[in-house]
């Protein structure tokens, strides 16, 4: 039996990359002058951490379905959506202020990492949904 990479591995890799980008961008954003006073949201961090961990485990174990690991691709996009929407919720007031009453180059720069984080996390969630339809490893019959 030859093991080959399934389509799910490709989309999972994209999901993972986007999720990590989103996570890093969030951490950067949480340390900007404009947003640092809001602190780091535990829901966002926990959601992203769970999603990334679940994704890595699923990709690494690569078990053939059915398997207990099938719960992992279900968890991933759900957690990413929770993290992404929660992040949006914590940033929306500040972004509204920056785009209107407190618009300047520094605040726009501070906001850009929030935008990157939100977009990347939501995109990761969408790719996560797609990934769930495919196995990360393909089983070939000899």
């Amino acid at each position: 039996m030859n093991k080959k990479l399934g389509k799910g591995m490709v989309t999972s890799c994209i999901t993972l990359i986007l999720a990590i980008i989103g996570f890093v961008a969030y951490i950067i954003n949480a340390n900007t002058a404009y947003f640092s006073n809001l602190g780091k949201n535990t829901t966002v961090i926990a959601s992203l951490a769970i999603a990334i961990a679940a994704l890595i485990i699923w990709m690494t174990l690569g078990k053939v379905s059915p398997s207990w690991t099938d719960i992992l691709p279900v968890i991933v996009p759900a957690c990413l959506f929770v993290g992404g929407i929660t992040l949006l919720n914590t940033r929306i007031n500040g972004m509204a202020a920056i785009m209107t009453f407190t618009n300047n180059a520094q605040n726009m720069s501070d906001m850009s990492s929030a935008v990157v984080a939100i977009v990347a996390i939501i995109a990761a969630a969408i790719f996560g949904i797609i990934s769930a339809f495919f196995d990360v490893k393909k089983v070939a019959e000899n």
């Binding site: 059915p66 099938d70 929770v82 009453f101 407190t102 969630a125 949904i129």
Partner: protein, 1030 residues
């Protein structure tokens, strides 16, 4: 399909369902946190007022409109808008070219792209709301001229139309990109870029445009500079896009493309005859000495930002249908950057700045009281009087001895007419006990055209040795009050009586002993007080100088009229009469912490007329805050602790009252107020102060309704007329509208900008403006109006000047007062903004503003004093900036002691749009009478405590001081609501009920569907997995 693929499919479906369920549940949280803003955006409502049918509703509606339908309403607004520009446009120069003859109106060439794309409102803030398809559609310049029968050169018009895309500016905004074809103001730190097409560009668009001027030889050239919130003009060459190479030395000066265009018009006139008229479409004073000097320019008309109907008025001035009667609200300097105030402007960072704490800039207003005309005219007086080293070259535009004629193009208060007037002061009656100066001025039309005339009453205070020794500054001339005649036919006269408030001619003496046993009081020096009138501050000052025996031989620019001066002599220094305010509160220093020298001794040298050269402001930048200062700059100045007797502060009582029971109760001492406020729970008080946003929110325990806030200075424009209007025409609401009303989409951000309103020098017209907005408030159910913007023009470079009236506090204050008093008759909660010292848009969130208390009280605070103290407005908005080191929302001297105690303010006080909880300084703000922040969130303690960690019931309930402050805030805010038209539609029986909106139902439905999807996916997955294993 193989079972393996089916398993993958069902796993994918389960994941999809779970993800979408997570999305919909998370979105529900977002919706709850931002419900009121979502409702405003979608036009939905999450609460409703329910009144039982069998109760007496005879007193349900307190206020009534002057109009019977919306057609009358919007027509009245349009009428005021037109007349505002008729009286608020300022004729600066006229060699007889204006007015145009009837024949000349038929051959008009409009030059300059701003003729076709004028600035009618701010880029942001006091922006024009364009109304189409209503009974009062807004118009631009071309539309107004055409409607008034002018005939426009179409060859030229088509040429500009071809170049339209070159005028475009795109600005990223919340929710998208805004595209402007009019000129825009530069963003903070950006440079001004001219969009005026070059002659070559015009030639490219039309080979015959110059030829077309021959038969259309009335050439009107429009030059524009925009205004905007959160934007700024950087002074001098640094503020101009250097890559353009247009020989523009200042963003408020002319570029070569503008010069060349004007010259092209002059050249055409020299060949074909005709006229060259320049329209200045601006709100910040421009540098236009070259236009004044240019003999080829026949006339200059400053029209401000005329709003949606103002160009009708401008057209009537051009045609002579109306005689201009506007006067400038600001000094037009030759080089604005040479003023003392300009020496400290821009991004002046602390060396130990910390943006996370909003510690960014320090703005030291070392010029003292000498801004605008108070600088130019006072220095001129001292040149004539030969005192104070006034002739020194410092601040000179020529580099040689300072000379008034080289520095000022048009003075404050200046304006021409098509006729001539003579003003004679018949009498001046000074009644110190009544704190009144009554002036009777007879105005006679000595020309041959009917028109109105503004009466500007000025006073010159004695500048004494005491002042010099105690650091008190005196402007050589200052506006005390003003009035305006009705239309005077040629030869006709009218006596205008002005009852001026003497409070506005006192001086703040920080050293004076006072009734409280401390220092700081308003004083009148002993000596001669000169009262006079004039077409602007300069003419008035010349009268005073003439009365003091000075002539052209002494260096005056022209002879004054000593006979038009009345002298009142105070024999003894008066430090007691004005030591208490109108409500009897003893005054004392409240803002000494605004003097940087109190923190960094010897740092600042304030400008004094005793030595212009020796005290000329240096630029204070690179300042370092000490540890002591940083303790205040870190914003956290109050710690919630156990104190007092918390049990004595009642929350959540059951007294059976509703807010409607106190409808119209103006006596704050009425015992029912405390009984009502006792009913509010602590959590309600904590949530309502912590989360305000763009409206007051409902308070269930007293049935306090949501009340909507609205900008702005050019009219109520935040929402369309119908969004909150009562569309139940069968109700007893006298201002209900049909859902299909033709004017349902109308927005009232259509008035000319604030400078034009003030340029009318007409309290009557300002009052009419307030009245039509009051009526609009009734029909639209939009109650809170941030309509009186009283920050002063410290410099023309603040691009937000368009939202503020003037460089002069008295003009600002009394125009604002007239607006406010009129609007309040219709139940509007008129709110002034911004309290206080909001003098720059550069780093306005956190900028530490320093000045002397004399400047603070006599300039900025005086500009907003009358609407609050005399007008009893029910709303105030605080500011983004710091008052000295302290956030404006946390300054007790300003908020508690001056605003509430000295001026007697009682009502709703909102923060500006501060989103960062650190800088909201909620606990400090509530202690100082702020009743709501602009932050938003869900209507739960968890939500508010998540934003402000200290704002919990457990924490606050031990602090009796804070508990009482919360109750005070609730009482003040609901007092304002109870005395407004927000209570129309409510009676004692009325109650608030929650409403599930369509989007609530949608989210719930989606959650159910996605939940079922998960369940089905899991079921199919398990079933298929079992089969596969079997």
């Amino acid at each position: 399909m193989s079972k393996g693929k089916k398993i993958s499919l069902y796993r994918g479906l389960t994941a999809s369902g779970a993800a979408l369920l997570a999305l919909s549940v998370s979105a529900t949280t977002v919706v709850n946190d931002h419900r009121t803003d979502i409702d405003k955006f979608l036009g939905t409502s999450s609460t409703k007022i329910v009144t039982d049918e069998d109760v007496d509703t005879s007193d349900m509606y307190t206020y009534s409109s002057d109009y019977s339908n919306t057609t009358e309403l919007v027509s009245a607004i349009a009428d005021v808008g037109e007349r505002m520009s008729e009286e608020g446009s300022v004729l600066l120069k006229n060699n007889g070219a204006l007015p145009l003859s009837a024949d000349e109106t038929k051959k008009v060439s409009l030059l300059g792209f701003s003729s076709y794309y004028p600035v009618q409102g701010g880029d942001m803030g006091s922006s024009l709301t364009v109304n189409v398809g209503t009974d009062a559609d807004t118009v631009d310049f071309v539309g107004a001229l055409t409607a008034k029968g002018f005939v426009i050169n179409t060859e030229l018009q088509n040429a500009y139309e071809k170049l339209k895309e070159t005028f475009k500016t795109e600005v990223e905004t919340w929710g998208g990109t805004s595209t402007y074809y009019n000129i825009t103001a530069p963003s903070i730190g950006a440079q001004f870029t001219s969009k005026e097409p070059s002659i070559e560009a015009l030639n490219g668009a039309s080979s015959g445009w110059k030829d077309s001027l021959a038969s259309n030889n009335v050439m009107i050239v429009t030059i524009a500079r925009s205004g905007s919130e959160n934007k700024n003009y950087t002074p001098g060459q640094d503020g101009v896009d250097s890559t353009q190479n247009l020989n523009q030395t200042d963003p408020l000066g002319l570029s070569d493309d503008e010069r060349n265009l004007i010259q092209a018009a002059i050249d055409a006139k020299n060949v074909n005859g005709g006229k060259v008229i320049v329209i200045l479409n601006n709100s910040s004073a421009m540098e236009v000495q070259e236009l004044q000097d240019n003999e080829g320019v026949d006339a200059i008309l400053q029209v401000g930002l005329p709003g949606g109907y103002g160009f009708y008025g401008v057209a009537d001035i051009l045609s002579g249908e109306v005689n201009p009667s506007g006067h400038l609200t600001d000094t037009y300097a030759v080089v604005a950057a040479n003023s003392p105030a300009a020496q400290n402007y821009g991004d002046l960072r602390w060396t130990n700045a910390d943006d996370t704490l909003y510690i960014n800039d320090a703005l030291v207003e070392a010029e003292g009281i000498y801004t605008g005309y108070k600088y130019y005219e006072t220095r001129y007086a001292d040149v004539v009087l030969g005192q104070g080293n006034a002739s020194d070259s410092v601040g000179s535009s020529t580099g040689s001895a300072w000379n008034y004629a080289d520095e000022v193009t048009y003075t404050f208060g200046y304006g021409l007419s098509y006729t001539t007037f003579e003003q004679v002061i018949d009498s001046i009656d000074v009644d110190t006990a009544a704190r009144k100066v009554t002036a009777r001025v007879t105005v006679t039309n000595t020309g041959d055209t009917a028109g109105k005339d503004a009466v500007q009453l000025y006073v010159s205070l004695p500048y004494t040795q005491y002042d010099i020794e105690h650091g008190i500054e005196k402007s050589a001339i200052q506006l005390l009050d003003f009035g305006k005649t009705e239309i005077l036919e040629p030869g006709a006269s009218e006596t205008v009586t002005i009852e001026a408030d003497m409070d506005y001619m006192t001086s703040w003496d920080s050293t004076a002993s006072n009734a409280t046993g401390t220092t700081g009081s308003y004083i009148l020096d002993e000596g001669d007080y000169y009262f006079t009138v004039g077409n602007g501050a300069h003419e008035a000052l010349n009268n005073v100088l003439a009365a003091q025996g000075k002539t052209v031989a002494d260096g005056m620019t022209e002879e004054g009229n000593a006979e038009n001066v009345k002298i009142w002599t105070l024999s003894e220094f008066d430090g007691s009469t004005f030591a208490t305010t109108k409500n009897g509160t003893a005054v004392e220093n409240q803002l000494s912490d605004m003097d940087l020298n109190n923190w960094l001794p010897g740092t600042v040298t304030y400008l004094t007329r005793n030595d212009w050269a020796g005290t000329w402001p240096k630029t204070y930048e690179g300042l370092t805050a000490t540890d002591e200062m940083l303790e205040i700059l870190d914003n956290d100045t109050y710690e919630i602790t156990a104190n007092g007797d918390p049990s004595s502060v009642v929350f959540g009582a059951d007294n059976g009252l509703k807010l409607a029971d106190l409808k119209g109760v103006t006596d704050v001492d009425d015992e029912r107020w405390d009984l009502l406020v006792d009913q509010i729970t602590l959590s309600e008080a904590l949530i309502r102060t912590g989360f305000g946003g763009t409206s007051t929110k409902t308070i269930d325990s007293i049935s306090s309704p949501e009340v909507i806030q609205n900008d702005g200075a050019n009219g109520i424009y935040s929402y369309p007329l119908s969004q909150y209007a009562n569309t139940d025409t069968s109700s007893s609401d006298p201002c209900a509208i049909d859902a299909n009303d033709k004017n349902a989409s109308y927005k009232a951000g259509v008035m000319a900008n604030a400078t034009v309103i003030a340029q009318t020098f007409s309290k009557k017209l300002a009052s009419e403006y307030g009245a039509v907005m009051g009526n609009y408030s009734l029909w639209s159910n939009l109650t809170i109006w941030w309509g009186v913007s009283n920050n002063i023009h410290r410099l023309p470079y603040n691009a937000r000047n368009h939202e503020y009236y003037s460089e002069d506090p008295v003009l600002s204050s009394f125009i604002g007062l007239a607006e406010a008093v009129a609007a309040q008759k219709y139940g509007v909660i008129v709110a002034t903004k911004h309290l206080a010292f909001n003098d720059t848009e550069v780093n306005r969130s956190g900028v530490a503003v320093f000045m002397t208390e004399q400047k603070a009280r006599e300039q900025e605070l005086r500009a907003t004093q009358a609407p609050i103290e005399s007008g009893k407005v029910l709303g105030v908005m605080t500011a983004f900036n710091r008052v000295g080191l302290t956030p404006a929302n946390a300054h007790s001297g300003l908020l508690n002691n001056i605003l509430h105690n000295e001026w007697g303010f009682y009502g709703l006080m909102s923060e500006d749009f501060i989103m960062d909880p650190t800088y909201v300084v909620l606990k400090e703000a509530v202690l100082n009478g702020v009743t709501m922040s602009c932050n938003t969130g869900d209507n739960t303690m968890d939500a508010v405590s998540a934003v402000y960690s200290y704002w919990t019931e457990e924490n606050v309930s031990k602090d009796a001081t804070m508990l009482q402050a919360l109750k005070n805030a609730m009482k003040m805010q609901n007092y304002a609501l109870a005395n407004s038209n927000a209570m129309d539609g409510l009676v004692s029986n009325s109650r608030l009920e929650s409403v599930r909106t369509w989007y609530d139902n949608l989210l719930t439905a989606l959650s159910i569907v996605f939940g079922l999807m998960v369940v089905c996916g899991i079921g199919m997955y398990v079933n298929t997995a079992r089969k596969k294993e079997d």
